[in-house]
């Protein structure tokens, strides 16, 4: 029993609300510091690439946002699955908070990818690039999840139905990715230039890792803040929320 106490606590809205309240400022501060360090490292310290010159510096925002876009979908789908299987309302709340954040970072990945593609490929968009096309499908999946969830009047039903959609998406994203890859190799072979260079030096890699960490922290901060609002919204009729907002002792 005691070994699983932390697990039960994580399903308790008041506990998670207070945990988020306590953690968020620290994570937010750390994320601002890391973003500043990573941007400085990426724009100033890292040497220009011998092929792409200064243009490669877009990597420091493109790769982290693509990573967050994908990671957020995994977080969202796992949270939704936990909510569906064990009927944990809080898990559904996490999934609901993750969707818009994940969608916005996926959009950012598409935008930075297109802007990077113009000088490197000569075109903003290339249908043959499996990763860009998969990101686009991912964005559609996020939008579908949000639209489906919000079209139900009963929040509970919307949560559960959207959880099934998220699971279907998890199964389909790899299939779509590999079929686009198969398709593009038939059309253009190996001439296509990939967005990341074949080799990356340590001086280039360190800012990238810092940026990925910074984006992850930023993502965590956004989820915590959104989760707090979502918890209050869902628990608005409970005693602890009433005490919280009226300043009563809990």
């Amino acid at each position: 029993m005691s070994r699983w106490r932390w697990f039960h606590l994580l399903a308790s809205p008041p506990y998670v609300y207070r945990l988020a309240e306590r953690l968020a400022p620290w994570i937010g501060a750390a994320s601002v510091l890391a973003l500043a360090a990573g941007t400085y490292g990426g724009l100033v310290l890292a040497p220009p690439d011998y092929l792409q010159g200064e243009g490669f510096r877009i990597i420091y925002v493109h790769v982290p946002s693509a990573y967050i876009g994908l990671m957020a979908y995994v977080v969202m789908a796992s949270a939704a699955a936990c909510g569906f299987i064990w009927r944990i309302k809080l898990a559904h709340a996490v999934a609901a908070c993750t969707a818009p954040v994940g969608a916005s970072f996926t959009f950012l990945a598409l935008f930075t990818g297109a802007v990077w593609g113009k000088p490197m490929w000569g075109t903003y968009w290339q249908w043959g690039d499996a990763r860009l096309v998969s990101e686009l499908v991912l964005l559609f999946l996020y939008l579908g999840f949000m639209l489906l969830r919000s079209s139900f009047d009963e929040r509970d039903k919307g949560d559960r139905v959207a959880a099934i959609l998220a699971a279907v998406g998890v199964v389909n994203v790899p299939i779509i990715h590999y079929s686009v890859e198969w398709w593009s190799t038939l059309h253009q072979g190996a001439t296509m230039m990939r967005l990341d260079g074949p080799s990356i030096t340590l001086e280039m890699l360190i800012p990238l890792l810092i940026m990925i960490g910074a984006f992850t922290l930023c993502f965590a901060w956004l989820i915590l803040r959104r989760l707090q609002a979502e918890i209050l919204d869902r628990e608005r009729r409970t005693r602890w929320v009433e005490q919280l907002v009226t300043g009563g002792a809990s």
């Binding site: 499908v137 299939i175 779509i176 079929s179």
Partner: protein, 221 residues
């Protein structure tokens, strides 16, 4: 298994009685395909190149439209609750309904498709491959459309939302289906994409009915 056969026969009979419901998507298919030449060009070279894509996109939209109401009447008249409560597994019953609807909506579509293909100047030798590709692809399309229909069955406005949910997921079918057709048109062997279509069909037929059944349970409860 008995329940499967009974439900299959019932849905088939109901569909044949309401023939206008399954005729509409077919006519839709023909009309969409025949609008494309107006948008593109009447030239044989252009139509020959675009024909495969036109055919597959039209087939995709039409099968999505055909399955929109797959569960709606059953949910509205309460027979879905009976199916959920019945001792037979709901996935199996969903599969029965899917098969019945595939017979009345996809089979006629596959029968019409060669004529549309010929009007787009597709060589006659490629028609066999086109038919096989459609036979392998339509089950997956039906399964995806059924999942979309099950997810939105308790909503008043399903239609457009189903398209938004399902269409992105159909991209592999479109890729393999058009590749198989194109390869056959160029006189190559289309075995590769056909195998992949078959794999997708097997995969979606094994997991899809379960997913749709879960969505129905949530929607109806």
């Amino acid at each position: 298994m008995n329940a499967y056969v009974t439900l299959f026969a019932r849905d088939l009979k109901l569909a044949l009685r309401r023939w206008s419901e399954f005729a509409t998507p077919l006519i839709f298919f023909v009309i969409i395909a025949s609008l494309f030449p107006f948008a593109l060009s009447p030239e044989a070279a252009v139509l020959n190149q675009a024909g495969t894509g036109v055919l597959w996109i039209s087939a995709l939209l039409s099968s999505l439209l055909a399955l929109d109401g797959l569960f709606r009447t059953d949910v509205d008249d309460g027979s879905m609750e009976q199916l959920i409560l019945s001792p037979t597994s709901l996935s199996l019953l969903v599969l029965a309904k899917l098969c019945a609807h595939w017979v009345v909506s996809s089979l006629p579509l596959i029968a019409i498709a060669p004529f549309i293909a010929l009007s787009f100047y597709m060589p006659v030798d490629a028609l066999a491959t086109l038919i096989v590709a459609l036979l392998l692809a339509t089950p997956t399309l039906s399964v995806l459309a059924a999942i979309g229909a099950a997810l939105t069955v308790s909503l008043k406005t399903g239609g457009a939302l189903v398209g938004l949910l399902v269409l992105p997921l159909t991209s592999p079918i479109l890729i393999f289906g058009t590749r198989a057709t194109d390869m056959a048109m160029n006189g190559e062997s289309a075995a590769g994409p056909l195998y992949l279509l078959a794999a997708l069909a097997a995969f979606s037929l094994s997991l899809g009915p379960m997913t749709a059944a879960a969505a129905l349970r949530v929607s109806v409860e």
